[in-house]
């Protein structure tokens, strides 16, 4: 219940965050919402109420820090905007090609 309420709060502040951190250059409202949702779903298996409360508290803390600009733009970008590269997680081919795919 607490988690759901917190999720709604986060969604309510997303436009604000979007403008504060100038995220509309990098992403859209929808993708941002999606990635927030994914973060919540990652912890869907947690059933212990106390644990949930602690996590919501931590999340709230994070939200407040974000709203007060105690974090900087690149923190937000690396944590919530840039999704990890699926190609990078794959086991790379060996030798020259691996290096070639990775960088110059």
């Amino acid at each position: 219940m607490a988690a759901r309420r917190f999720y709604r709060t986060v969604c309510k502040y997303l436009p604000t965050l979007m403008e504060m951190y100038k995220l509309d250059e990098l992403t859209t409202m929808k993708t941002l919402q999606n990635s927030v949702k994914n973060i919540f779903y990652q912890n869907a298996h947690v059933k212990d109420l106390n644990k949930i409360n602690v996590m919501v508290h931590k999340g709230d803390e994070e939200l407040r820090l974000l709203l007060r600009m105690h974090k900087q733009r690149h923190h937000v970008i690396t944590k919530y905007v840039v999704m990890h590269d699926p190609w990078k997680t794959k086991a790379p081919p060996s030798g020259f090609l691996a290096q070639f795919y990775a960088s110059n």
Partner: protein, 140 residues
Amino acid sequence: MKKVFEAAGSILDGKIAEAKYIHPYMFKQAEFVGEDYNGNKYYEIKKGVLYGRHRWFVPPDIFEYSPASVPPEWHGWLHNINNDAPSRVKFLEQSYKTPATTYKYLGYQPKGSYRQKMEFGRKRNWKKYEAWTPPAPAKA
């Protein structure tokens, strides 16, 4: 009292917090003067308060508002430039008046401002080079 704490806990403008929660008696004595097209409500107390605190406005959303949302006709009354509120006496617009554009960042923005190009749907470009865009496919 609970309201006060709630308000203090969130980000609330000092003027509104005072008018609405810290000295709520003010509202009881206040006279409602009018409302503008942005939904701001204007109040006045003629006696019993310090000069300078006798006219104020309450925006529709007290958590998210801009003082710039006060239109010029109300601005004059609010700051004691005019004696009469536009709801009582018709406000004469100046012949050289331009539309009030400051609200919603339509007005002048300095060079390099994040908001400068936002209204036109454009975005800042940090790229130091221009990439080639492939031509549109030939229609067969």
